[in-house]
Amino acid sequence: MSFRQSPLIEIETPIHGPGVAAQASFWIQERPFRTHINLRGDPADAGFTEAVAHTIGISLPVDPNTCASKDNWGACWLAPDEWLLIGPKDQDSTRDLGQRLVPLHHALTEVSGGQTVFRVGGDGWRDVLASACPLDLHPRAFRAGACAQTVIAHANVVLIYAGDDPRGEALDIVVRRSFADHLARWLMDAAAEGGFEFLAPATSS
């Protein structure tokens, strides 16, 4: 097996970037090499939803901009017939799901190499994102169970509220590989005033 390379090859972490009051009110950490699947199909077809539920244990969310998770897998609603599944580095589930879907009109497309996840948190994460993301991320508007497709600094992203991080409230930003370096640099620049920690990648799944 040859080596894998995250899109952030040019950014050597950890980086300590103290703010004007020597604080760090924002942290960012890549969660590389997870399995990303773009899934399309008809949610009215019981065979389709059951295949997903059977393999990754999730009942696909049908409400716009919501997500569901179970164990290590998460499913984000992207469109009435489109979801993003993110899970562990586990080819078996993907293969199993693909086989179960064979008789149905569907599209299971692996995009694990095409995108990555930044997890961000800290007291100032909303301010940092507000520098370039037009979406309202206030707790009243964006909370546990929410996801959204939006832009940050001209890069398309999927935002997923991450309620399970032991460090506190956090957000997962799913970004396409080619924009990842740009977005990471933008976030560091936007966080310079309030200070930031760019942590080494989270290698466990």
Binding site: M1, S2, Q5, I9, H105, D181, D189
Partner: protein, 1005 residues
């Protein structure tokens, strides 16, 4: 020297500290809490600038954003900011400021000759005079603009940085005066998300200088209490030094926050942005922007020392300075009397209160009379006398009942300050920007907000309610109801007790007749910044102008950086008088963003420079290219290696080397940036048939096919190779720059025209790292890299693809070629792209494998006559024009098919793609060069086409070019000429566009 002075006590300045600054090269000092204007006034400075057109000396008129005269440029070098209002510039240690007008200097201004020539400079003078002869205008304009001044933008790069914030709130409140403060409190107590924004450094608005007690204490004390409560609410955002500069559709507001200007350049932490542009989306908006006092329109009303009455009060009460030794008031309403009382409190000798009304308000009359100040009812100041330091005397006269004539002259009164009040203009700017149409209020002689168009309401003085208690009640109601309408009921405010006086009504007075002091050059100014006078407006009316919008443009009324905050209402009322209409019938000009000027830095934010102007997209192999010393080319947002120069090589040497290596050995190209779309579903082939001009029914799994996509107009839109991965499963490639547009185009057709087609599209551009290994040695290198596929041409023919492994990495390998060489395109999961690239480079070391960039790729494909969509096509080229009618199926329908039968697309003599060989083989034509049949033809020379691609081909040992030439396909061998910009003419011969291997033996080998 004037006799202005700082008061011993009072005001909101900190006398314990002194701040030193320079103005026009001289040293001054002030205190924390001062503005540049207040500090200079307190030290006797009266002259702040020269007017735009007549170069008349001008002093401070106002105390805030409305100031038209005291424009300064602050800072030096890269930090220089022109055209700031001195009334809003906060002092900091070491500040340097200059007036923006006045040449060669402020005291002696050559342009002042215009004042003497003013009868020759009526409204529209420049239009009327300098438009002939037309070509000379540019020269005239240069000199006129130099004379007109208005500061100089810095020529150095801006050393500061700027940022933006997106914000969302339930209730947005513009203005933190009494109405805005209670509105914020009411909404905050309901639990709503509130933003309260004020342009000043402190909250409070008029309460910072108003004398009225509120809630049993002073205004500033009450403001502090409210501010403390608001700042303790977690859902309240309070911004000071922040101007609501624009109000747009969907309750979207833009706020310009100045974060470091008040501490001076280079004084704050470099991580702090100088300005922050807030982009706010509000559910409900409360406009509480107050009102701006109107000047009175009389001869010499621009004399330094003539100020707005409210500004006089502000300078005395907030900035603790007496603007002169003696003063007088000229008013048409009760509010002006306050200035008389304030001047008394500042120890000034108040010589007269001149009231245009027959019956002043009883309360105010009693108050000023108690100080022994003479009040002149039914009287006006028709003219003034001035000296070097501004105002010296005012003329007194009684007014006829109609207000049109002077009845009798009552002599002169000595005074250094004249506080004028012509009533108040509610600041309806934001209401108007929101789409509302202000309505004329006859009783208060002002425009007030009309019906709301968006979710906004006005409260307080900006709604025409000028008493403090009305401001508080309206503010509370507005804040509470705005919160309730955004889903947060239950707000409450206890309105504090206030002292109110009974106000007598104002009497509209739009223009004062001229007095005995007036000579021939009567000038009653409306717009101080642009020197627009009452006479100019009447002249415009006489010349036939009727619309206020046209009169504005003809006379420049309201054209300045102040956007007519002071003068526009007076101007339109005078126009109304000249037209025999009411001001309401004439209406206002449109109030446009921005309320006050916004810097370009704030507009740009951090979206600047190499790094952030546009996202930089990188392939998985980018870091390797950088280490290899590649020069990069921007293709869309992508960085692609352009060429890889070796030590001492220039671009041509590097490209020649890369081309020769690829044709004769092996080269490798990072092709990851091409757009890739996964197409899946039982109707996928039918969909491809509709998108592409050629036929896709018979493409077997494992085979690849090149296709053209046309727009509905029949013109080539995109091209690329699509591979059949499995039945009902295809992978389409698009051009790098066209990827997103093609994806959107396909989705559009699927979703809107052919929803019955069972097809799913998924973008996989970023998923696959793609490298093209090309050249006679490519097969050997691929084997050496550990490819587990049988690469022989019998089992793996040209235009086919197979899945396998290369160096242990799962890969799709395709035999497709944009170079015309034997080539293998390898696609792997992008996480392993760099690993594969390095494996290929290692395997190819013995074959001197050469990475090549986009420039060599362009040369190699041009040698083969392969077009690049967007370079050899320009949206007006059909496949037939490219000589590729073989790719257009006649048996099926596809997008653009019918357009190919239009008379224009079907006609002969269209521009067609051909090759060009220059007669001098070393001469490389410039791309874009125009082609002519004969160089010496009489003008205009008929253009027959242009060069679309042109290179030196090291493989062919000569230059080659592709060109679009009228009827070119039938002119093989013809001699034509490229007419170059430098006048030279290069002869060339038309040839087939395929310069090398027309049988395609290499690619198929």
């Amino acid at each position: 020297m004037s006799t202005a002075r700082r008061l011993e006590r009072g005001g909101l300045i900190d006398r314990s500290r002194r701040i030193h600054f320079k103005f026009n090269g001289r040293d001054y000092s002030g205190h924390p809490g001062d503005t540049l204007a207040s500090a200079l006034l307190a030290q006797g400075v009266r002259l702040f600038g020269r007017s735009f057109k007549y170069h008349r000396p001008r002093g401070v008129v106002g105390a805030g954003a409305e100031e038209p005269n005291a424009l300064v440029q602050v800072g030096e070098g890269a930090y220089r900011t022109p055209n700031l209002r001195a009334t809003q510039v906060e002092l900091y240690e070491g500040l340097t400021a200059r007036t923006v007008n006045g040449w060669p200097n402020l005291a002696f201004d050559i342009g002042a000759i215009n004042n003497r020539l003013s009868r020759l400079l009526p409204a529209g003078f420049y239009y009327k005079t300098f438009m002939w002869p037309r070509f000379a205008w540019l020269r005239y304009e240069h000199h006129i603009r130099h004379a007109a001044g208005l500061g100089h933008a810095p020529s150095l790069p801006d050393p500061d940085h700027y940022d933006k914030r997106h914000a969302h709130c339930d209730v947005f409140i513009a203005g933190a005066g009494p109405a805005g403060l209670v509105a914020a409190l009411g909404a905050a107590r309901a639990g709503a998300r509130v933003m309260l924004v004020d342009e000043q450094a402190q909250l409070g608005g008029s309460l910072l200088h108003a004398p009225a007690a509120i809630g049993g204490g002073s205004g500033p004390e009450w403001v502090s209490e409210l501010e403390a409560e608001l700042k303790s609410c977690p859902e309240v955002t309070v911004l000071t030094r922040a101007t609501v500069s624009g109000y747009y559709d969907h309750n979207f507001l833009v706020v310009n926050e100045r974060r470091t200007d008040h501490v001076g350049p280079g004084q704050s932490d470099s991580r702090l942005s100088r300005e922050r542009l807030w982009r706010v989306r509000a559910k409900q908006v409360v406009i509480a922007t107050g009102a701006i006092e109107r000047p009175l329109v009389f001869d010499g009303n621009d004399t330094p020392g003539v100020m707005l009455a409210s500004a006089v009060s502000t300078y005395i009460r907030r900035y603790a300075l007496a603007p002169g030794r003696s003063g007088a008031v000229f008013t048409n309403n009760d509010s002006g009397y306050q200035a008389a009382l304030d001047m008394v409190s500042a120890g000034m000798d108040v010589r007269a209160v001149v009231d245009a009304r027959e019956k002043p308000g009883a309360s105010v009359l009693a108050a000023v009379s108690a100080h022994g100040i003479p009040v002149y009812p039914g009287s006006v100041v028709p003219a003034v006398r001035s000296g070097l330091q501004g105002l010296q005397q005012i003329e007194l006269a009684t007014l006829s009942p109609g207000g049109d004539d002077i009845l009798s002259h009552k002599g002169l009164v000595d005074c250094q300050v004249l506080a004028m009040s012509g009533g108040w203009s509610p600041a309806v700017h934001l209401h108007s920007q929101s789409g509302g149409r202000p309505r004329y209020d006859e009783a208060h002689a002002c425009f007030v907000p009309g019906p709301s168009v968006q979710a906004e309401r006005s409260a307080g003085a900006c709604r025409g309610s000028f008493t403090l208690s009305a401001c508080l009640h309206e503010g509370a109601d507005a804040g509470i109801s705005a919160a309730a309408q955004s889903g947060w009921p239950g707000g409450y405010v206890d309105i504090p007790a206030t002292e109110e006086i009974d106000e007598a009504p104002l009497q509209a007075l739009w223009e004062v007749p001229a007095g005995t002091l007036s000579g021939d050059g009567v000038k009653k100014f409306l717009d101080f910044q642009n020197d627009t006078t009452a006479a100019d407006i009447r002249l415009a009316a006489r010349e036939g102008y009727r619309s206020i919008e046209h009169v504005k443009r003809y006379t420049a009324l309201g054209f300045g950086t102040d956007q007519g905050k002071l003068g526009n209402i007076n101007g339109l009322a005078i126009l109304a008088g000249a037209l025999g209409k009411s001001p309401g019938e004439v209406g206002t000009t449109t109030f446009r963003p921005n309320y006050t000027p916004v810097t370009f830095g704030a507009v740009a934010g951090r979206t600047l420079g190499e790094q952030f102007f546009d996202p930089v997209r990188k392939t998985a192999i980018h870091a390797w290219h950088v280490r290899r010393g590649a020069e990069f080319e921007d293709v869309g947002q992508w960085k692609r290696p352009w060429f890889y120069p070796r030590e001492g090589e220039d671009m041509h040497a590097a490209v020649n080397r890369e081309c020769l290596a690829t044709r004769n050995g092996v080269g490798v190209l990072d092709a990851s940036t091409l757009g890739k779309i996964d197409i899946r579903g039982p109707d996928a082939a039918e969909f491809l048939n509709l998108l592409y001009t050629n036929n896709w029914d018979n493409l077997q799994p494992g085979r690849c096919r090149y296709g053209f996509m046309l727009g509905e107009d029949g013109m080539v839109m995109d091209d690329g190779v699509t591979s059949c991965l499995a039945p009902g499963h295809y992978l389409m490639t698009t051009t790098t720059g066209g990827a997103a547009a093609v994806m959107a185009w396909m989705e559009r057709w699927l979703q809107t025209e052919w929803p019955y087609l069972k097809v799913y599209l998924t973008s996989v551009t970023d998923q696959w790292s793609v490298m093209s290994v090309a050249g006679p040695d490519s097969r050997t290198v691929l084997k050496a890299a550990g490819c587990d596929l049988d690469l022989d041409t019998g089992t793996f023919p040209f235009m086919s693809m197979q899945a396998g492994q290369v160096g242990g990495i799962p890969a799709r390998v395709s035999r497709i070629s944009f170079s015309g060489e034997l080539a293998f395109e390898i696609s792997v999961d992008a996480n392993q792209g760099l690993a594969l690239w390095q494996a290929i480079m290692t395997a190819g070391r013995d074959y001197d494998i050469t990475p090549y960039g986009t420039e060599a790729m362009h040369v190699l494909r041009a040698e083969k006559g392969y077009v690049i969509v967007g370079q050899d096509t320009d949206g007006s080229v059909t496949p037939v024009d490219l000589g590729m009618d073989w790719i257009v199926s006649g048996k099926k329908d596809f997008i653009g098919k019918r357009s190919l039968c239009r008379s224009d697309t079907d006609r002969p003599n269209r521009k067609q793609l051909v090759g060009l060989k220059t007669e001098d083989p070393t001469r490389v034509l410039p791309e874009g060069a125009q082609l002519v049949n004969a160089p010496q033809t009489e003008r205009p020379v008929p253009m027959i086409g242009h060069v679309s691609s042109s290179y030196y081909s090291a493989n062919l040992g000569r230059s080659i070019a592709l060109a679009l030439v009228k009827g070119g396909l039938s002119r093989m061998g013809a001699r034509i000429f490229a007419q170059l910009m430098n006048g030279s003419v290069v002869p060339a011969t038309i040839c087939e566009p395929v310069f090398l291997d027309p049988e395609n033996q290499r690619a198929k080998s």
